[in-house]
């Protein structure tokens, strides 16, 4: 037997609706977590990444047993976390003798592992180590410029994959409209060699240039690190096709009471409720006036009215 279960509270219902599959997705949440063993470097890498993505990220600070993303059965708890937290990108840090300062960045599709990229962190410089004008520091959640430099990203398969994953991680919320006054950060990723990428986070300083376009200047604000490619796992071809589907021709929702006019442009119609003129307090009926005078006035008006009507009829 089946029973219909619906949330008792509106808040829960809204939360569930937020998590439901959408026609047009607005952005992915990131889950940042670590394994049983981490180094100091890795800890600060993870906190810095969390700091960058504060608006749309979740940081798990406890040690996590039995997460081994590349091994079979090692992804179960990751997938569980993804389900639980509704995050579809995860950054998993762990360190071992074989793979020191290891960072696994992965994406999920329908709460199942979609693809994985493993990088080692080297030459890490945390946010705190950079000295710069604090006025420039980027606002949390602002839309970032992303730049990829180097032929490695085009030629080497591994780096090509890394580029896609990094883009997904860094792009932030998908927006339609952008406030030009709000752009204040840029990520640059440079392929130094075939398996090494230099990653830095910069603030933007907009300078006057005499034209509409301001002159851009990058100020490094950190973190900055070298990402050394290790293992990676590309998505299953069938899964990839499935995941790349988009709502092709979504019908534009009709906006009520708005029409486009060729000459006059967009025209709107608004509804104004009936003005109940009879009930409006008239100035000559104010309390301040004495009753006798008011009544006398009303009487006078009454006597005048029929005369007016007669006039109209005769005319």
């Amino acid at each position: 037997m089946l029973k219909v279960k619906t949330p008792k509270k509106g808040r829960v219902k809204r939360e569930l609706e937020k998590r439901a599959p959408k026609l047009v997705e607005t952005g992915k949440k990131t889950l940042i977590l670590q394994g049983t063993k981490t180094s100091n470097v890795l800890n600060s890498v993870l906190t810095d990444i969390y700091h960058l993505k504060r608006e749309s990220a979740l940081r798990f600070t406890r040690k996590n047993d039995n997460i081994r993303p590349f091994e079979s059965r090692g992804e179960t708890s990751l997938e569980f976390f993804s389900q639980k937290t509704d995050c579809s990108i995860f950054v998993y840090g762990s360190t071992s003798k074989k793979r020191p300062d290891n960072l696994v960045i992965g994406r999920t599709y329908d709460h199942h592992i979609y693809d994985l990229v493993e990088v080692g962190v080297e030459n890490f410089k945390p946010i705190g180590s950079f000295k710069y004008d604090k006025k420039l520091s980027p606002q949390p959640g602002s839309k970032a410029f992303i730049t990829f430099i180097g032929e490695g990203f085009e030629i080497v398969d591994k780096l090509k994959h890394l580029k896609e994953v990094l883009l997904d991680l860094l792009r932030g919320e998908v927006v339609e409209n952008l406030n030009l006054a709000g752009i204040d950060r840029a990520y640059t990723c440079t392929a130094v060699s075939t398996n090494r990428v230099l990653f830095t986070h910069c603030a933007l300083r907009l300078k006057k240039s005499g034209t509409i376009v301001p002159k851009m200047e990058l100020v490094e604000v950190g973190p900055s690190m070298d990402l050394v490619m290790r293992r990676h796992r590309l998505p299953n071809e069938i899964l990839r096709k499935e995941a790349m589907k988009t709502a092709k021709d979504q019908l534009k929702k009709k906006i009520k009471n708005v029409r486009d006019d060729a000459i006059e442009g967009t025209k709107g119609r608004i509804y104004i409720p009936d003005q109940k003129i009879g009930k409006v307090a008239l100035p000559n009926k104010t309390k301040g006036l004495k009753r006798e005078r008011r009544e006398a006035k009303m009487k006078r008006e009454k006597s005048e009215r029929p005369a007016k009507k007669q006039k109209e009829t005769s005319a």
Partner: protein
Amino acid sequence: MGTENELQVDLGHLLAFDPYHSFSPLPSSRDELVNECLRKGTELVQAIADRLFHLPSTEDINGPIVKLPPPTTKLPREKHLPKPKPPTKWEQFAKAKGIKKRKKDKIVWDEQTGAWKRRHGYDRVNDDEDVPIIEAKITDVPGEDPFAKRREEKKKRVEKQEKNRLSNLKQAAKVGALPSHVQLAATALPITGTQAVPEKVTKDELGNVAGLASTATASGGKFDKKLPGEKPAKKRGKHRKFLPVVEGSGIGGQEKEQTENVLRKIMSKNSHEMLNIDKAVSVYNVKKEKKRRNQQGQSSTSSKLKPDAKPMKRKNKPNEKPAKGGGSFKKGNSNRKYS
């Protein structure tokens, strides 16, 4: 500019990619390398900004706002595309019949109260509470409360709709198109044949059901594969045994005996009904008279019968009233009638 054309710029993601840059001699020191990267990065950022600031913008209090073009770099979805909801049973029917939805007014004139009222919900038109009198019809069954009937019917309709809704939801769940806030949760499994759903199935009941299920084959579960650790069925059904009908020695006689036993049992149980009392009485009387005749010698049968019938009547007299006494022979029955 030649270099700018080589750049790949995706304004939707604010992304720029220079696929042709390579460090011909890799800078020796780290600082140099970083500076080189930043210089190149600035170039790319400038390239994005060039396009971005040339987009048509609308002025806002907080700054100029531009509409970004859709991103060209395809990224995988986070979740599958929402699946379309399958049509409900009614929608299918309406489509087949060509029934179209018509808009109804939210507010309807209520004749009972003489006011405009909502069609549905609280304080609606034709509300049960507002109907003071229901006119009698020829078809009405006397003794039935028409108000209760009305309420009952309404309840039934609601229940039916709830059932329909559930079945439609089940259909939607099959294709994975349930509304996001609805969950279909399984309750206890019903045992086939029982109408009511048991609240909680006990261990014993489960055992019984498992036993029934395991023997529900043509061979009574004899040739079924047993699962490891499966215990023999708890309740084995009794099977009928058919004895040979042909008479002979030994087993042949048992069939007849069995049926006779059954017959005797039935006869003994219903013997009081099978007894023809009139006949029994006359037989009894005849016997008695014969006895007397043997003792006394000769007398007329008719005169001797009458006094003989009297003692029987007298037997029942103390419990019966003269007006009604006659038919009943049962003591208890007659007592119940008059108490």
